[in-house]
Amino acid sequence: MAQQTVTVEPSDPSGMPSSVRIRTPARIRAMRISGRVLTYLILWLGSFVYAIPFLWMVRTSFMRLDKLFEEPPQIWPDPWIWQNYIDMWETGPFANWIVNSLILVALGMFGQTLISIFVAYGFARTQFPGRNQLFVLILASLMLPGHVTIVPKFIMFRTVGLLDSLWPVALPDLWGQAFYIFILRQFFLTLPVELDEAAEIDGANLLQVLFRVVIPLSKPAIATVAVFNFINKWNEFFEPFVFIQTPEKLTLAVGIRWFRTQYGTEFQMLMAASIVSVAPIVIVFFFAQKQFVRGIALTGIKS
């Protein structure tokens, strides 16, 4: 693939130094076309490789158990059945898991996003002693791996009797998350201060400036944070897994593991449950691709 480099032509018509490599138009066109064909070929193959486990999962979720281990494997389920989805719904406390996940997501998307907005606004638009030092602390907490605090948090929530509920999962994150604060602050800094000042001259206080000027202008950044929040909360695994024991109190991301222990061999149900857990993510990603890509790109731009 690599060696599409060019011929060296010492006799140069344009009088450039002979070390310069020149390509003939025909060669260039041939190279371009073969390069593009190769690009698409690798992309098709690559995305096929990345998509096929998903497709396999969808296929398996519609298969009858006794057809699962057939040799050679069926490509298309025959017979195509919906029964796995019904079984899955009836065997586990599936509705509870979905409700719990939604509670967590709602708290994240609204509570955590709103508080992150407040904090980011404080850092972007106000002055007070120690502000810069506190911001360094936020950046430092971005680097702190979560596992260091899991044991003490477990002890803490056990002491106050909140274990085995959604509280230990939801509460610590509610107070604004470092990464979201960072994204929002960077965005707020790009808004012209003159707008704030104009509003202040009109008699608006800081809160009014935030809600009437800054938030309406920051919709893209806020949408990015909300989408990130949705996906992170929906997928959160380690903390609910450690803090919650009762099956009915689990979230969906942890709950589907239940099918593995209870029904170790019934893959078709496990696959159906997995699809239900992935579906909202796929839908959110499909509609919010732009916000998502922008948010991730933002992290890469300035570290």
Partner: protein, 318 residues
């Protein structure tokens, strides 16, 4: 310091003094960040130091906390606990193959997507979705893919059958379980890929034109323009990938439960077992702190060496 900045501002009109001698505006600013500060102290800084204290003790959640001094650390670092040694080895094995693999694969995919291809959204979705799939779903899926007669072996048999070689029993063998999990980890390259794609789109076209005039071919441009311009993104993703890969957990928990024969026992899994299965809170905290120091050390090393190879365009101008 910031207070004096305020004082030197052109019109220091309002100087109403509140608590701490701050102006009303300064107090308001502080109130905005107060929720975060509250959460930070209660749920991050507090537990952080408490965990450090616990790592010097023995405590099983009931009874008194017993002070041990460095005993937990001595037991871990002397190699007395062979399962801990095994989990360090496994984690290092994973990091060494996972990090470069993910960076290279993401770079190639991003490079291809950057070539003004049609239908970029479709490809981007295909490559990105695995990274945002629920961990358990991913694990379940790959448990299936890595079965002796699973998807991967069905594919490998196309090449191996004619050569009369048996495809590996990925999850059942101590040799192949780890490579299996590493291959699985290459499925989630989406975030790195999108950071690279954004970086690639930010490289000014004139640099490529200049390189072409200098006679650079495809590889020359990649080597002398793309890679140097991408070093900030490569650095960032490398730091994040190292931090993330040391905390690999879900895959091993769901798929192998650390087995076979501890072949996929990762550090975080061992921490989890000690803390929440055996309820050895002190010992688990000591493992957490060793893990933390290893990650911190590697991050600092990466930052120190970064000066040699990471190129920031802003620095040259400034």
């Amino acid at each position: 310091m910031t207070a004096t900045d305020m004082a030197s501002a052109p019109t220091p009109i309002r100087r109403r003094r509140g608590i701490l001698g701050w102006t009303w505006k300064e107090t308001q600013g502080f109130l905005f960040i107060l929720p975060w500060l509250f959460g930070f102290i209660l749920f991050l800084a507090g537990p952080f130091f408490f965990s450090f204290f616990l790592s010097f003790t023995q405590w099983r959640l009931v009874g008194d906390i017993k002070w041990l001094g460095f005993e937990n650390y001595a037991q871990l670092l002397s190699g007395e606990d062979t399962r801990f040694v095994q989990s360090v080895y496994n984690t290092a094995y994973y990091v060494v193959f996972h990090v470069p693999g993910v960076l290279i694969i993401s770079f190639i995919i991003a490079g291809l997507l950057n070539r003004k291809v049609k239908g970029i959204a479709v490809y981007r979705t295909a490559f990105y979705l695995p990274s945002i799939t629920t961990g358990v779903a991913t694990a379940v899926l790959w448990y299936w893919v890595l079965q002796p007669n699973g998807l991967l072996n069905n594919f490998l048999d196309i090449f191996l059958k004619p050569l009369d070689i048996q495809a590996p029993n990925w999850l059942g063998s101590t040799t192949w379980a780890m490579p299996g999990l590493i291959i699985m980890s290459f499925w989630s390259v989406g975030t790195t890929m999108i950071i690279y794609l954004a970086g690639l789109q930010g490289i000014p076209q004139h640099l490529y034109e200049a390189a072409e005039i200098d006679g650079a071919g495809w590889w020359g441009k990649v080597r002398h323009v793309t890679i140097p311009m991408m070093t900030p993104q490569i650095f960032l993703t490398m730091v994040l990938a190292v931090i993330g890969s040391f905390q690999v957990f879900t895959a091993a928990l769901i798929i192998t439960e650390g087995g076979p024969a501890d072949a996929t026992l990762f550090l975080l899994l061992y921490l989890y077992w000690n803390g929440f299965r055996f309820f050895k809170m002190g010992y688990a905290s000591a493992i957490a702190w060793i893990l933390f120091f290893v990650i911190l050390f590697l991050t600092i090393v990466q930052f120190l060496t970064a000066r040699r190879w990471v190129y920031y365009e802003g620095e040259r101008a400034g």
